[in-house]
Amino acid sequence: MKVTANERLHQNYCLLKLTVEQPLPEMFPGQFVEVRVDNSPSTFLRRPISINYVDKQANELWLLIQLVGEGTRKLAEARVGDIINVMLPLGNGFTIPSSEERGKKLLLIGGGVGTAPMLYLGAWLKTAGFEPTFLLGARSQNDLLQLEQFRTYGEVFVTTEDGSMGEKAYVTNHSLLKNTHFDHIYTCGPKPMMMAVARYASAEDIDCEVSLENTMACGLGACLCCVEKLKDEHHVCVCTEGPVFNIKKLSWQI
């Protein structure tokens, strides 16, 4: 895929926009791609990256990349016109409620780079006639990305650990959760955050889907490295059975 833009949104995040000549295949919120990192000697495997947004008119795929190690740092150096090898789309997306369920209150909780798939999910839900609510958590104001775009799809609530924006708290302590009842929660972020969200949803009997980020090699269900143990004690591949799971299926101790 050809790089059409590489925007450094923050010291530790870049937004890569990629295109191809033929129309992009249908991609669902929560699905991911595997990006090959060339010219980075210590990076061997592809990097699984969630789909941040698909701009159908521009035929563009957006990837929000957090600079974690050498692989993602190399990707962040991409220039407009560079060609990047991407396998897509992979995995299963979030459950989209049917049109009869339009009145349902949907909460999308994202933490850190886990906000990335929530943008595309929010856009999708808005188009489908829902009014999604976003609850986004970060260390500080600077780490909250793409807020303007989030606001075009629904109401946005924020927590920061240092209190520089929104409520000074973790997402699960936000007053929104005390004042409003939601029917369905979607979440992606650091595992402790997702577990806290799952605990809250479970206690309140709210349907909840999480997007897991287990370390992964092939992305196709062949290597069996990214497994998650389900309630039935079986190991399943996050890449092909997930990455989105309903918390009722997981063996998490919550």
Binding site: S42, M216, A222
Partner: protein, 302 residues
């Protein structure tokens, strides 16, 4: 166009390029990406007589030019394979070879017997070299006596092509190769993964749930190449070479060192279509160097 056909015992491969067990699922996972019937063979995921859940997560650690895995032979068992997977793969027009593992001589034999019943499986690869299971696996593959014992028992019940996958975690791989050759196996494949370890310095903990795991990828290639070359000089049976192959050039090197065929493993995760490029590259190499048949490359090191 060079003649790319090669023979492993009585088994003919349309070309020497196959995919390694544990890196290519049952082949069908890759069927959307290219025509998998172009391969010389597909070594499917390690199968045991009883279902196995494998080791706990985390099972993988990336390394420079490779990775460590500790999957631990997760599979749904030979009966499930026969009932549910075999029907999906039996008509793929290439050699579908089952990698067979066990925790005792008896379980190896039972699994081999079960797979022998499947008409369209022309060969098994006996895995006596998995470093990620507590019982069996590599324990059989690191002594001549252990290797000979399990191979002898399986040979009695398995009349089709029997390939034995050797471990590199030994002092002298040629001794093990000779021991299994003496028991009448048709070929050996080498190398399985090398025992390794990864540590998370910040957390002061091992990365893998099992602490140690199997290293694979381009980082192991020189070791694998050396072992294929040593084994070629020690045995008469065909050798299937693997260990870090990521290009046609690597494949040529393994064949020059003595391999009759090769397996592509970990690199499937980086480029799922690499094996097709290797087939085409082997043909180009043969044409460029005037080899009418790719089999002329085997052991043709000057």
């Amino acid at each position: 166009m060079a003649d790319l056909r090669v023979n492993i015992g009585s088994l003919q491969l349309k070309n020497p390029v196959t995919t390694a067990s544990g890196t290519f699922g049952y082949g069908i996972e890759y069927a959307d990406l290219f025509d998998i019937s172009r391969l010389g063979g597909i070594f499917v995921k390690g199968t045991t007589i009883q279902p196995r859940e494998g080791n706990p997560y985390p099972r993988m650690a990336e390394t420079p030019s490779g990775m460590l895995n500790a999957v631990g032979l997760q599979n749904k068992g030979a009966q499930y394979f026969a009932d549910h997977i075999y029907p999906q793969i039996k008509d793929i027009d290439t050699n579908m070879i089952v990698n067979v593992s066990g925790s005792s001589v008896e379980t190896y034999v039972e699994c081999a017997e079960k797979i022998a019943e499947l008409e369209r499986i022309p060969a098994i690869e006996l895995n006596i070299s998995c470093p990620n299971v507590k019982q069996g696996g590599m324990a059989f593959g690191v002594t001549c006596q252990g290797a000979a014992e399990v191979v002898r028992a399986v040979r009695k019940v398995y009349p089709k092509t029997l390939i034995v996958k050797l471990s590199p975690n030994v002092t002298d791989v040629t001794e093990i190769a000779r021991a299994v050759e003496a028991e009448g196996v048709d070929a050996v494949s080498l190398i399985n993964t090398m025992l390794g370890m990864a540590i998370d310095a910040e957390r002061r903990k091992p990365v893998l749930s099992t602490i140690t795991g199997g290293l694979s990828g381009p980082c192991v290639k020189p070791v694998a190449l050396r072992m294929v070359w040593q084994t070629y000089k020690a045995v008469r049976i065909p050798i299937i070479g693997l260990g870090g192959i990521s290009s046609w050039k690597d494949a040529v090197e393994f064949m020059l060192a003595g391999a009759t065929a090769i397996q592509i493993g970990t690199y499937n995760f980086v480029d799922p279509t690499v094996s097709i490029k290797v087939i085409d590259g082997l043909n180009d190499y043969c044409e460029r160097h005037g080899f009418k048949s790719v089999s002329e490359l085997t052991g043709a090191l000057l």
